[in-house]
Amino acid sequence: MRWLPAGRYVVGNSLLHRLDARAKIICLLFLLAIVIGTASVGSYVLALSAIGMIILLSQLPLRHVFGNVGRLWLFLGTIFLMNALFFDSENALCSWWIFHLSISGIKQGFSLVVNVLLVIILSNVLTLTTSPNEITTALESLIKPLRLLGVPTEDVAMIISVAIQFIPTLMEETEAIKMAQIARGARFESKKLRERALSFMPLVVPIFLSAFRRADELSLAMEARGYRNATNRTKRKKEPFVWQDYMALSACGALCLIQFLVLR
């Protein structure tokens, strides 16, 4: 665990990689609305073609884009079966005990599974083309309007950035504590699930103590240097949107309008 996890980001230089993370997050919201709004064959064609185009533009290997879809087969299968067997008991094709297989249930199950799959693929493309740091910086920028509601967005941004700084340090500490516990006889590699789960318990309290001690020291140091809160702090780098970002936003906005005004 001696490395900072890079999320699932795949380094690249495609158009999607170069887009501003803020624009990508807003586009993702538009595309999620398009997926949720699918109600007719036309709307599915629109959603599928938009997502197909995005995958092409991302230049990502397909095994990355669809990587975690296979692991969800049980979850997706359960959603499909629950809808197919319980959705409509009055117009059932065949019935047995509490199960009623119906055409409307199959359609409902199919549409739910397709929607979940499309949402997973879209979020995969976002996380594969944008590094976690870019996403958190973009989120900091996007939550700024919440200041109007009295939310201290600068403090939220400070907390997020301190949390990111803490991750590698605390990971090293966790590893050291783990080694110390192994030296004391903890059996993290035991084949018995119960034994392995119990062996993690003595790990948790020292991890928390160490993390809170570090937080205590950092807050003391910050207060000693006169830090009170993050309001009115300036940023070293301000990157405005470029024309590609505006194009992406307009295209996704237009698709969203077509979905809700024409195809529904």
């Binding site: 409902q108 997020i160 949390a163 699930l193 001690r213 937080a215």
Partner: protein, 182 residues
């Protein structure tokens, strides 16, 4: 437990958010640890109890999001209901600790934890039934996923969180709640 400065509470919240990323990674060698042991719940509940409702809410909102971005756990499809559940945990734990004062720290902590856990699960269940899987979510599925599958996690949280609070108080990292009895 809220006599700490604003800066200290902010930094402790940041540490709890970081622990939301690290604990699931530490537990990853145990199969299905995420759904059974729920390691991410511990820092969020602790943050609510120690730093108050606003910081608890923030750690519940940001913790799972950062974990998903950095480690891919939980997958994005599971993220919204999980964020709602954890945000309610942090918020309610913080609210309850400021409302409940029985003069016995253990009783305060257990009452707050139980109320927060039930509130979080109810709100997450309502969100699942109304927003995320409308029409195909039942009471049986809710009970199975939030109580039956997660019972080892519930036991671990009830055992560990008061222990961690006591350890932090003993180490003088957080102030005593009932200092006159110490």
């Amino acid at each position: 437990m809220q006599k700490m400065s604003y800066v200290k509470r902010s930094i402790i919240t940041a540490a709890c958010v970081a622990l939301c990323v690290i604990l699931p990674m530490a537990f990853h060698s145990i199969q299905n640890a995420g759904s059974i042991l729920s390691p991410m719940h511990i820092p969020v509940l602790l943050c609510g109890l120690i730093c108050g409702p606003a910081f608890g809410l923030l750690s519940g909102l940001v913790g799972p999001l950062l974990s998903s971005l950095f480690t891919g756990m939980p997958p994005m499809a599971y993220l919204p209901p999980m964020i709602i559940e954890l945000a309610v945990y942090g918020l309610v734990a913080g609210l309850m600790i400021s409302l409940i004062r029985t003069k016995k720290l253990y009783v305060d902590l257990y009452l707050c934890l139980v109320i927060a856990m039930i509130a979080g699960r109810i709100v997450a269940g309502i969100a699942m039934a109304l927003i995320f899987v409308p029409g195909s979510y039942s009471m049986a599925v809710w009970t199975a996923s939030y109580f039956i599958t997660a019972w080892p996690g519930i036991v671990i949280q009830l055992a560990l969180i008061p222990t961690i609070v006591f350890a932090l108080m003993k180490a003088r990292i957080i102030p005593e709640r009932y200092s006159e009895k110490a």
